[in-house]
Chain length 373, copies 2
């Protein structure tokens, strides 16, 4: 088994699910609450995970994480956790499941309304240690298994963002076997999110050479393995590489993200799949941003993508086609009359300020129109 | 100012010493103990640092850090710290000064003999939080300003190694202005240590793609800037790059090091300059190790060093000449009759086990002989 200790503690290898008992023991967990959703449980992935443990069949389970996680779901999870006298979380699923566990673990140890801990209200400085989480991702993309962020929809419909290094799970057990059975659409949409993290982090102008180095390695890795992992479920090596590239992308994004993530936010709020949105928006976002990027940086990005410097947006559009992403926002169900308002929302996101080129509301609406069909 | 938050909190920029007050305030420090040595104080660098603070002239000072730090010096520092009612450390100097502060900060919060906290006695799991340290490096090389290690000579002469993420200073204030006045010999010997960290970490076989990516970036950066920084004290850009490459090298070395660091240890114990030893030993260490390295990895290392794959040791030997390192161990004062025993010590170090190719005592003695003249 390869042990990587970095921002987070990561166990990555085919079969690493067998380490859950040892890692739970290291954390002193005797009765973790298993958090998952019906998709993961129904596909047999939860059984695959729990059967690798000695006692997992006896651990209490919460399977009701919604596709886009909510504070309400975290509250329901927390109520069950208390009722069952659990001592930590075993989150088995995608970003929604892991973020739902983060929300419950946060509320358990912070006796204030969770809205007071939002990043935009200064939560970064007020969030302290949370209950231990073991994260077991079943799809590669968000990187929240080693990330310091959590996104939970609030009671009023706002997508609440929470940030703190205390939100990093105590260990991420990354077993590419668990990502095998996910639908190809979901693999593509989630994996392209990771590539978006790495590209937008690399282009973000903050000075951070180690993050740049990791981002470039992630880009080269992801652009190679993503089509193979999506198109051939039997390609275990590609699934491993996709998982590793996702982790690297998540490490690099401490630098900041950019225009594709900014513009995805208003459409995220419609309940559409976040990663797929990022993929669909990326070519137009890069057409907008790249003119503000230095020649050297554009050349290094192109080298990682194995294309010419002026072919970066077209290369990403081609990648989208190869992995079967929707042709545009319209095909995802975005109403055409939402584009104007979307531009206003995108321009106000923090991602617009960490982008290589800041856009106006009109700029973002123009990008959305260009990505519509 | 560029803020990088990574393993450690790093403030890096020409003039970043002006941030000491703000960073001390963030940590709640009102009366830090200034730790330094007579070289740093005598060269005016301490004044340069303290004059960038509002109250620094009033903070108590400990200037008696020896060239190779000892537990005895840390004890003397701690006694003064207690007498002066300090609430943290401001370590201004090279690796010796910062490690001396780490030793005192460790003893302050751990009520057991420090020898019980040695890495070889399982200290990694028993070291908890230590008193806050602000590290202000005045030479680029060791990277201990963001490192989790500390090396202190014990009462019996053993070089004690302590490891814990709690030993990472709370903030590293990296100001290349402060490295300007160091003697060229010291710049060369310390800077080549950083290159050694990056090369040996990259070649170490542990699986860690982000560390590999950071190491390659460090290697390309250091091989370019080190000669310029050593040969032209006015080249501030080179000093900045050397500082950044040193930080990246320190980040990458969590992977493990290799044969040059293994073989430096017995000669370190003679009181010789550690980094200079690493530089002098590196060409022979690589001649030994590279045959066990994959073609792909050797090719990428050569690309970072801007040479052919079979010219790596010669390129490093040439770099040594350009920056004025001694021609061999003999010129450093190593007695020829110590080489046999040195091989035995080197083979027993942990660095031998993280090297791409493990060596026997005879192998190491042969390397030392080849690097003798």
């Amino acid at each position: 088994m390869a042990l990587i200790q970095y921002f987070a503690r990561i166990q990555i290898e085919s079969g690493s699910r067998k380490l859950i008992d040892a890692e739970a023991g290291r954390l002193g967990l005797k009765r973790p609450m298993v958090v998952t959703d019906h998709g993961v449980a129904g596909a047999g992935v939860l059984d695959l995970v729990l059967s690798a443990t000695a006692q997992g069949a006896d651990w209490p389970q919460f399977r009701d994480v919604p596709p886009n996680p909510t504070v309400a779901a975290s509250e329901a999870l927390l109520a069950l956790y208390r009722e069952q006298n659990c001592d930590g979380f075993l989150a088995v699923g995608g970003g929604s499941v892991i973020d739902c566990a983060k929300g419950a673990a946060l509320m358990l140890t912070h006796d204030v309304p969770i809205t007071e801990l939002l990043a935009r209200r200064g939560g970064l400085d007020r969030i302290g240690p949370i209950a231990p989480i073991i994260a077991v991702p079943t799809i590669s993309g968000t990187g929240t298994e080693i990330g310091r962020g959590a996104g939970l929809t609030l009671a009023d419909g706002e997508k609440g963002v929470f940030l703190s290094h205390h939100l990093i799970p105590r260990v991420a057990i990354c077993d590419p076997d668990l990502t095998k059975s996910a639908p190809a659409r979901l693999k593509a949409g989630s994996g392209i999110d990771a590539l978006g993290h790495a590209i937008e982090a690399y282009l973000s102008p903050a000075f951070n050479p180690p993050a740049d180095a990791i981002a470039l390695d992630a880009i080269a890795r992801l652009v190679d393995c993503l089509p193979r992992a999506v198109l051939d479920a039997e390609d275990g090596e590609a699934r491993f590489e996709l998982m590793m590239g996702t982790l690297e992308a998540a490490m690099s994004m401490w630098k900041g993200l950019g225009a594709a993530h900014a513009l995805s936010m208003p459409f995220d709020d419609l309940g559409l799949h976040h990663g797929t949105l990022v993929g669909v928006l990326m070519p137009e976002a890069l057409r907008f941003v790249l003119p503000a990027v230095s020649d050297e940086r554009r050349t290094r990005l192109a080298a990682a993508l194995r294309c010419d410097g002026d072919a970066i947006p077209a290369t990403l559009a081609d990648l989208n086609r190869r992995i079967g992403l929707p042709a545009g926002l319209a095909a995802m169900g975005v109403p055409e009359d939402s584009l104007e308002r979307a531009g206003v929302v995108a321009a106000a996101t923090p991602f617009n300020h960490s982008a290589a080129r800041a856009g106006s509301a009109e700029d973002y609406t123009a990008m959305a129109r260009a990505a519509f069909n």
